[in-house]
């Protein structure tokens, strides 16, 4: 029983982080129709930013997280302005390659600046919570709470505010949005900024129980892609649910099947789901 509970909590932890990363990806996809392969690099930059804000400037964990959010948002906005904006009339392939260009650049820059070393971020919440045989490091609990709070906030922002609606409108028809007076550029930049913040927060939350190094974003981003396809590209609830599904599948799969095949689980799941339901789990209508 405790073991199952532990796996559930672990699934929530993983799912929370995955969802945050996937959310940023899905938002940008929705607006720009860009599968942003550089998103994993944003995640990595977020972790490094928070790490150095804490270790070099002695900032508090939460302040460092906010700082990382600002830094990555700025980089994301810059990427939008300099790369994706000029490419907005081109096809998907060009975006992908350009995104890979950004990824190579950020990864190499991080390595040139900080070296290839693995680094470890300290958390202020190093304790372990033990309840009736269930052990859970407090950082993991923190991840769960913070990730889901952030998701809720994002959901409310998109659904209930007009500014949120402009993002969705832009996602559906760029020219149409411009013609009702929505400033397309501002929305695009805002979306990228949000996606950057989400990546940075996810990275800062996850880093204390993981390592910080230039290539850290690669696997996370592949899984995030699985998640958004699973959930339906551009769908916010889909990204959250998809993240949880993958989180749980990995947590339980690793425990009950084999850790060796843990990473395959996500991908096999996707292949199976799409074979049965080509439009993803949560999209309706045809494509």
């Amino acid at each position: 029983m405790e073991l199952i509970l532990e796996q559930i909590l672990n699934g929530l932890t993983l799912g929370g982080v995955y969802s945050l990363v996937a959310l940023g990806l899905t938002l940008v996809y929705g607006i720009m129709h860009v599968p942003n392969f550089a998103h994993g690099a944003f995640y990595m930059v977020g972790a490094f930013a928070a790490f150095f804000l804490m270790s070099s400037f002695g900032l508090n964990y939460w302040v460092a997280m906010a700082g990382a959010g600002v830094i990555v948002a700025a980089i994301a906005v810059l990427a939008e302005r300099l790369v994706f904006h000029p490419l907005r009339h081109h096809e998907g392939l060009h975006h992908m390659i350009a995104a890979i260009g950004i990824l190579l650049f950020l990864e190499a820059s991080a390595q040139a600046m900080f070296g290839a070393d693995f680094r470890r971020m300290q958390t202020p919440y190093a304790g372990i919570i033990s309840m009736g045989g269930v052990t859970l490091p407090s950082q993991r609990l923190l991840i769960i709470v913070a990730a889901f709070a952030l998701m809720l906030a994002l959901h409310l922002f998109l659904r209930k505010t007009t500014t949120g609606a402009t993002i969705i409108a832009m996602a559906q028809n760029r020219d149409g949005a411009a013609l009702v007076g929505i400033d397309a550029n501002r929305v695009a930049m805002m979306t990228f900024a949000i996606s950057g913040v989400l990546a940075a927060v996810a990275a800062t939350l996850y880093a204390p129980i993981n390592l910080v190094y230039p290539a850290m974003g690669n696997l996370v981003i592949t899984k995030a892609f699985v998640i958004i396809v699973l959930g339906g590209m551009g769908s916010v609830p889909g990204a959250i649910l998809g993240g949880l599904i993958i989180g749980f599948a990995e947590s339980f799969g690793a425990f009950y099947i084999s850790t060796d095949y843990k990473d395959i689980i996500a991908f096999v799941l996707l292949v199976v789901v799409l074979s049965v339901r080509p439009q993803g789990l949560f999209t309706t209508g045809a494509r």
């Binding site: 790369v83 992908m96 390659i97 350009a98 890979i100 990864e107 292949v271």
Partner: protein
């Protein structure tokens, strides 16, 4: 420039290819870079069939290349099958697997297909890594024999290997030229340009897409087989998605959906990265932005841009001719000319 278009252009390229070892004056490094580039060029030409001509961006391509490579590796090392037999199988094994993967994945469109195939590619990678009984897992397959001699020709020296790879590249280009310029190629391009319309015109989407996919991965498998005989060691890394990204980049740089473009890209880009090696750590700091600039400012690639320029020129000429024949029509002139018979 005119030369590059027709038969003469291709002959010139072939002559260059044959002369290269003499130009390189036996420098094995140049030969190795070139032969590796040719191997990837064969795979890239294949990728261009499904992605450039048929419009389905396949991200599992390097997975299929790995399938071809492992076919050769496993058969020669573990089962003592002669190299050429294993090599002949490599393309067919890849195509056979491609049939099933295509059947499932080609029901999806656009980015969904891409990401789905990315996952398929990743599964292939992980399977190669984990299925130790078959693939030797992460340890990899070592001691793959070099292509065995044919009619007295040995393929041990870099120069002989170079010519061997060149031979297959020429074959690959020749058949791709046939495919692309035939009714079949037109069918594929029709699917790329508008699949609803193509279907309404009686084109069986699934059958044609699967065929294009299989042909495309056949090329990948064959390239993989050559790779195995050339590098003589295989690890799961060959299936990594970054190889597909590389090939896509070659395609884009050269010109996607053209015959010559992917070839030029696959040869040119590796030389560029070789040249950039001196930058060491800063290589990708330069290369990343370079790629972005290229994609933004030369979106159709080198060959694509040239062809576009030529087409625009031609249509300008055509419309100039047309304008000379029919002087600018005013409201009156126009309706009178057409002589509407409407009551």
């Amino acid at each position: 420039m005119k030369l590059i278009d027709g038969k003469i252009g291709w002959m010139l390229l072939l002559a260059l290819g044959i002369a290269f070892p003499f130009i390189a004056a036996g420098n094995d490094y140049y030969l190795t870079v070139m032969a590796t580039a040719y191997i990837f060029a064969i795979a890239t030409i294949g990728l261009n069939l499904i992605t450039g001509y048929t419009g389905q961006f396949n991200l599992a391509h390097s997975g299929f290349m790995a399938v071809g490579a492992y076919t050769v590796g496993i058969l020669t090392v573990d089962h003592n099958v002669p190299f050429w037999i294993a090599f002949a199988l490599s393309g067919f094994v890849a195509a056979g697997l491609g049939f099933f993967v295509g059947l499932v994945s080609l029901r999806l469109k656009g980015h969904f297909f891409s990401i789905f195939t990315m996952c398929v590619g990743y599964i292939m990678y992980l399977l190669i890594e984990k299925w130790e009984g078959l693939t030797h897992g992460t340890v990899g397959i070592m001691g793959i024999p070099a292509p065995s001699p044919i009619a007295g020709f040995e393929f041990e020296s870099p120069r002989a290997q170079y010519y061997l790879v060149l031979f297959f590249l020429v074959l690959a280009v020749f058949f791709m030229h046939r495919i692309a310029n035939s009714l079949l190629g037109r069918t594929f391009m029709a699917i790329r340009n508008g699949d609803d319309l193509a279907e309404a015109l009686g084109i069986n989407l699934m059958r044609n897409k699967v065929l294009a996919f299989m042909l495309s991965v056949f090329y990948a498998g064959l390239a993989g087989g050559l790779y195995a005989g050339f590098v003589r060691f295989l690890g799961p890394g060959i299936a990594g998605v970054e190889h597909t990204f590389d090939m896509t980049m070659y395609m884009l740089v050269g010109g996607i959906g053209t015959l010559l473009g992917p070839l030029l890209g696959a040869i040119g880009v590796p030389w560029l990265t070789q040249y950039l090696q001196f930058l060491q750590d800063y290589r990708f700091i330069v290369f990343g932005p370079l790629l972005i600039i290229l994609v933004i400012f030369v979106p159709h690639g080198i060959v694509g841009s040239y062809l576009g320029w030529k087409a625009r020129n031609a249509s300008r000429l055509a419309s100039q001719n047309a304008a000379r024949q029919t002087p600018a029509a005013g409201v009156v002139g126009r309706s009178q000319q057409k002589g509407s018979s409407h009551a």
